[in-house]
Symmetry: C2
Subunit: 264 residues, 2 copies
């Protein structure tokens, strides 16, 4: 009796198995990946994990991500996986979308890794990606589970990632760029008190182009989402800058309504 034949017989029991099995199992066909953006006041970074090498072969870096449980909401799964691999928690994650290309796990190196850690390494896996923005100062990654390390990597140094993670990262970054035009989301990436120059820089790195300093400041101040703390930098070898905080009330207002800048 061939394996195929054997499997086909077992196959007829699948419905039974499905109904009775422990639902706290992992779903072998569904995963989640998280794209967490941070900002070090100079450049945009993304949180990546390093996985253990397999048979002495170094694995390239990856987004924090893993299979989800059978009985787990997608959103909760993303939060859990992020926590397990990097120690970060209480982060609002927004969905980027589902990624399910048939060849997304086919790179030889990825296959090697999957064979080492997954029960069903050949299983086709669809992943649901999430993204978020965080203030790097408040979250220090602590690798655990299969993450050998978890660290902030400058976006423009990311050349290669596991699986289709580069595609996912690009999609998330595109969402970020689109979103920052409509909602004043960037504040999540900054410390509680920040200078307008830092905010200015943040917008420049997200949008990928220079913005006029005076026009930028005028606009931000008029939107009324920043508020001076009447406190200045100290110890800087130049004219000290005022610190600002963001005005949560206005922020929430704009966050909900968007900037509504289309013109209609």
């Amino acid at each position: 009796m061939s394996i195929l034949h054997f499997a086909n017989i077992l196959n007829s029991f699948l419905p039974l198995i499905m109904q009775s099995k422990n639902r706290h199992e992992l779903n072998p066909r569904l995963s989640t990946d998280c794209v967490i953006f941070g900002f070090d006041l100079n450049q945009l970074k993304v949180l990546l994990i390093e996985r253990e090498s397999v048979n002495g072969v170094e694995q390239c870096m990856a987004l924090p991500g893993d299979l989800i449980f059978e009985e787990e909401n997608l959103d909760m799964a993303a939060s859990r996986v992020l926590l397990e691999l990097t120690g970060l928690q209480e982060i609002y994650l927004e969905q980027v979308g589902a990624f399910g290309d048939l060849d997304r796990l086919n790179k030889p190196q990825d296959q090697l890794w999957l064979k080492a850690v997954r029960q069903n390494p050949d299983e086709r896996v669809i992943t649901v990606a999430y993204y978020s923005l965080v203030n790097m100062n408040n979250y220090t990654p602590q690798p655990s589970s299969f993450a050998k390390s978890a660290s902030w990597v400058p976006l423009d140094e990311v050349k290669e990632l596991a699986f289709d993670h580069l595609t996912i990262l690009n999609a998330a970054f595109a969402k970020l760029q689109e979103k920052i035009r409509i909602q004043p989301i960037g504040f999540n990436l900054l410390p509680e008190k920040f200078t307008l120059t830092q905010l200015h820089k943040l917008y420049e790195v997200i949008l990928g182009r220079e913005l006029d300093k005076r026009n930028f400041r005028r606009k931000m101040l008029k939107l009324d989402i920043v508020e001076s703390l009447r406190e200045r930098q100290e110890g800087v070898p130049h004219k000290p800058s005022q610190y600002f905080k963001f005005n949560e009330e206005k922020y929430n207002d704009l966050f909900q309504n968007g900037f509504d800048n289309f013109g209609f």
Copy 2:
């Protein structure tokens, strides 16, 4: 030996089964749903299917959607399912996102239906939703497969849908509203030749508010994405309107670059 015990033993063979089974099977945990918007020159409509009644119980309407095959891209699955259920094809579908709440299939009526048509009715299913805009004149729905009927339903008459389809519809509509501010996508919803009044009406129903007629026309003409056909309506009991077509070249240009209206 309990069923549970039995299942647990079989469970250990699962990896084997997974590897050897026919990959042209349906994945019992993954589905796709399509939100197709149409416009009848007066109101927005969405394409819904009606399913066979189960044990004499009428089923409420649903988005066209079904399980996807193991070896099938998500995008292709959405196109296939749409074709199978409604006869529509060659439609560009854009992803809305993944929906996977644990209770999304739990309504009693939905359970009834699932038990009638699915091999594993209790399986937790995650769905990947897509949306599109079409010119209703070019696509006449032809129900088949488990769709008893497929028809255009005015958006504001949709009160209840199967599963979490109302949530999905709302998410897709929100995307549509957001997108039309950034890209001139509305033309997909109109016939090849249309009047500015029809286009105007379309924008009003999508955005859900009145727009000044003169300002709207001025703006559209300046964007240069519509072009007069120097042809007029006939047989209308009022001053006949010019027909316009949209300027594909300009359209594609704006489609790629967006309106870039944020101000930075």
